[in-house]
Structure formats: C-alpha cells, structure tokens
C-alpha cells in the first residue's frame, strides 16, 4: 500500500529524518512510536508533501507520490489528522466536518459518515453549531479525528489522536481506530501512549532521532526490553 524508502528531510540545518524506510501493508494498523522530537510527525508531514524532501521515495499503491502536491495526495486517498488539531476556528463543527468530505461526491454516504462521527463523539452533535475555535482542547481533538474520518480515506494517518482527551475517551479512541480499520481503512498511528499503540498495532516501528531503530509486530515490541524501558515506563 504505502511504501517509504530512504527518506531524508532537513529543516534548515537540522537533519530531521535520516533515511528511514517503512511500509504500511493493506488492511493493517501500523504504529509509530518514539520520544519527543524523534521525527514522527515529520514522517507523516513528508508523506503529505508538507515538508520538502531531500532524498528518498514514497509510493502509494504502486504510484510514486514523492513529488505530488498535497491536494493530489489527499485525492489519492491518504489523509492526515495533524498534530495540534488544526481545526478551522471560524467554522462551525458541522462545517468543519463538511470540509473533511471536501473531495467526496457521494452525498448519501457522506450523510451516513457524519451520523457515524456524531455517534462516536456525541459531544460534537451537542455543539454542532459552535465555532470550532471556542471548543475545549479535547473537543477540538475529537473534531479533528472526526473530520479526518469524513474524508473516507484509504490510508488514515493519525498524529497523537489521544492528546488531551479524557481517559474514557482515550479508551474510545482506540476502539474507534479499530472500527475504522475494520471498515477497510489502513491506519498509520503515532501515539505517546505506547502501550495502547502497540497493543492495537499489527506492526510497529520505533523511531529515535530521525532513524528507525526497531520494528516488529505490536506484541514483539511490547515484549522487548528496550521498548519497555524507554516507552512504557516500566
């Protein structure tokens, strides 16, 4: 499905990604974990064409998208739920969700998906007409996730979706991710909550300072000593 090879990214002088390669096979949930500043978000952003890549290739369904523009990548079916929520503050919740489905034409399906999002996050339905900018941090996070679901992607990339969410909702989030995956969407997930991320993942990568240092199935990594020590706080 998605394949990254030898990806290098620089921010000015900072070498943020140092030749990483990873793969998201069909119908799977892949997790990406690592400390702050390891380059996880940068990886997702470079897939979306939001940061200039100096070297490497990215292909999606056999198509080279390394040099594609963001809007085309979205058109191909990759969607990012970005770090820091990035909801449109002057638009209402309802409008934010509509924009999530910007490229879709199937009116009926969109309606269904909207209903689904409201079921997943009832809070959003309560506040349907509130401007997103005035929502609480967690509510915005829910909206951001809901909005990316609305795009009906083939590959959904979530950057720390549980950030700022209450424990109850965090649990929900992981079951929601499962549900989305069951609906046939591939997931690439970044999470600080490494335990939950590894539990849900079919396969996972560990990043450190711009390199992928470890990879394996979720279970393997959960059992790995180094992972335990560094990310699970045990």
């Amino acid at each position: 499905m998605l394949k990254i090879e030898n990806l290098n990214v620089f921010y000015g002088g900072i070498h943020a990604l140092r030749g990483i390669s990873l793969e998201v096979p069909d119908k799977k949930i892949i997790s990406l974990i690592g400390a702050n500043g390891a380059g996880k978000s940068t990886t997702l952003k470079s897939i979306m064409g939001l940061v200039p890549k100096s070297e490497g290739t990215i292909s999606f369904n056999e198509k080279d998208i390394t040099a594609s523009q963001t809007k085309d990548i979205v058109g191909d079916g990759i969607v990012l739920c970005p770090e820091g929520r990035r909801v449109f503050p002057d638009l209402t919740i309802a409008e934010n969700l509509t924009l999530g489905a910007y490229l879709r034409k199937d009116k009926e399906e969109i309606k269904k998906d909207r209903k689904w999002v409201y079921e997943l996050f009832p809070r959003l339905l309560e506040r349907e007409w509130q401007l997103a900018g005035t929502l609480s941090g967690g509510e915005q996070q829910m909206l951001a996730v809901g909005r990316s679901i609305m795009s009906k992607p083939k590959l959904l990339m979530l950057d720390e979706p549980s950030l700022g969410l209450a424990p109850l909702v965090v649990k929900d989030i992981f079951s929601i991710i499962r549900q989305i995956n069951d609906a046939g969407v591939n997931i690439l997930l970044i999470e600080q909550n490494a335990k939950a991320a590894l539990e849900i993942a079919d396969y996972a990568y560990v990043m450190e300072t711009g390199n992928i240092t470890l990879s394996g199935t979720g279970k393997e990594l959960l059992a790995s000593d180094s992972v335990k020590k560094a990310y699970l706080g045990e």
Binding site: N36, G137, L163, G164, L168, G233
Partner: protein, 279 residues
C-alpha cells in the same frame, strides 16, 4: 503544615451565550497543596483557570486569593434568578482584574496550547517574566541607570535556568526546543514571576508515560524548592493520582466530586463520567 487558605473560588459561574461552561464552582487551594482538577473534555477546567487568572471575568461569583478578593461579579435584577449559590443576586460592584494584575498578586499559569515567545531565546523568555517586578521606570531603564537591577534580573534568570536544567539551551530559540523542553520552559517562565500559586494546564500532554513520570518528580520538586501551591489540570491519571493532595472533578461545568486521590479513583460518578472501567 497548618492549613492556611490561599485561593478560594466561590460560586463561580461562566456562561458563553447558551453554553454554561462553569456552573457554580466552589474550590479551595491551601498553602503548600498540590490540587488536581480533572473532568471530561469540555467540562470547564480550562475555563476555571481562565476565570481565576482574569482572562474571563465570571458571570457570577467571587474569587479571593491570599485573603483578598481579586475578582467578583454578582449581577442583580433579572439576572439573579439565573444563578445559584450563597451570594447569588447580591449586587456588588463587579471587580474585573486584568490577567497581569492577577499575575502580580502571585498566581502564574501555563497554557494548554503552549504559548511561548516563539522567536525569542530561552533566556529572554524567562527574563521577560521578571519584568513585572521592575522598579525602575522607562527612562532610567533606557538610560541604563538601573544596572544593578538589570544585573540582578539576569542573575536570577540564570539561576532559574540552572535549576530547571535549561542552561544549555539558554541561547536557543524557544520554538526550536523539543516539546518536553518547551513545557519545562513554560513552567520556568511562570516561576520567574515568583508566584505563590502555580496553575498548570495539562503539563504532561503529549508526553509518554516515562516523560510524564519525570515531570511528576519535577513538579513535586519545584513545590518544595519554590514553596509553591499548585493547581493542575491533567488527563494522565498516573500523574494526577501520583502527585495530588486533593482532587476536584468537574463535569458539564459542575463539581461532581472532591477528595483525596483514592476516594476519587473509586467514586462511581467519576468512573462513569470520566475514568471509565478498566477492562
């Protein structure tokens, strides 16, 4: 430690149009305590911080700090029926402070979405927070007649950076720091205002369990080092339960529980609204 009251929020209500973000909140912080404020998303926790720090003025209620009323608003007439609480309807001339005045009184805060002075260096970020205690006026400061004071501000800033382990980042631009360090810097900046009460809004957000543990130690460290009281919002239960003396739980703007961590953890209302049951 004798229990000496530091912050008291009485009957605070905050309404945004139809949304009642905070409903008749009563809350107290005593000297030296670390208090947790938890609750589901959109429960009104950040709003409570905003009301305490003067970002919003409450639609009803009163806030006192160190035995002094710092903000109050009791509408009367038609409005009074809308609010409940001891003093509801008692019309007082409302006292609307600006955030800077509150900070001067000794309450400092961090933000849920980090708000550093992004383009300035770490050192400058902290040094700016020293400005509120400046004694010289703009003329003496401009013509460098306050060298001693300036020198002292710089020294204190350096000391603070040392304590918070930010010394080696001193000349880095704030926005280039890794996320965790940015949180540290926000706390350092708040501490530089020499507060008696520190408000932390989700300090551990975006940290992994390991980092959040480190932060926990750090927070209890600064409590003793700086003789602080702390009120913190957090969704990481390990953090909250591990560090707080008492916890308040909000849901839909209303206080639904209050108590020591173990009580809260087992409070069915809290479990239902917020914690959920562990599988």
């Amino acid at each position: 430690m004798s229990k000496q009251n530091l912050l008291r929020v009485s009957d605070a209500t905050m309404q945004f149009g139809g949304v009642v973000a905070l409903n008749n909140l009563n809350l107290e912080v005593n000297k030296g305590e670390i208090i947790g404020l938890i609750g589901p998303n959109g429960a009104g926790k950040t709003t409570a911080f905003n009301v305490i720090t003067g970002v919003y003025s409450p639609t009803n209620g009163e806030i006192s700090f160190d035995e002094e009323i710092i903000a109050s608003n009791y509408p009367h007439g038609k409005m009074k029926a809308l609010y409940s609480g001891q003093n509801a309807g008692k019309y007082t001339k409302s006292l609307v402070p600006t955030p800077d005045k509150i900070t001067r009184k000794g309450i400092a805060r961090t933000f849920q979405n980090i708000r550093l002075f992004k383009d300035l260096t770490v050192f400058e970020n902290v040094l700016i927070a020293k400005h509120l205690n400046i004694k010289s006026n703009v003329f003496t400061a401009t013509f460098m007649l306050n060298r001693k004071e300036e020198q002292q501000m710089r020294e204190e800033t350096m000391e603070l950076l040392k304590i918070l382990d930010l010394e080696k980042h001193k000349d880095d631009i704030a926005s280039s720091l890794p996320y965790g360090k940015q949180r540290h810097l926000e706390i350092a900046r708040a501490l530089a205002t020499k507060p008696k009460l520190l408000l932390l809004d989700e300090p551990a957000a975006g940290m992994n369990p390991q980092e959040s543990d480190d932060l926990m130690n750090f927070v209890s460290q600064i409590r003793t080092d700086f003789d602080l009281s702390i009120l913190t919002i957090e969704h990481h239960m390990q953090f909250v339960m591990g560090i707080c003396d008492r916890i308040y739980v909000l849901d839909y703007g209303t206080l639904i529980a209050e108590g020591i961590p173990s009580e809260i953890q087992n409070n069915p209302k809290v479990i239902e609204a917020y914690l959920g049951v562990d599988e």
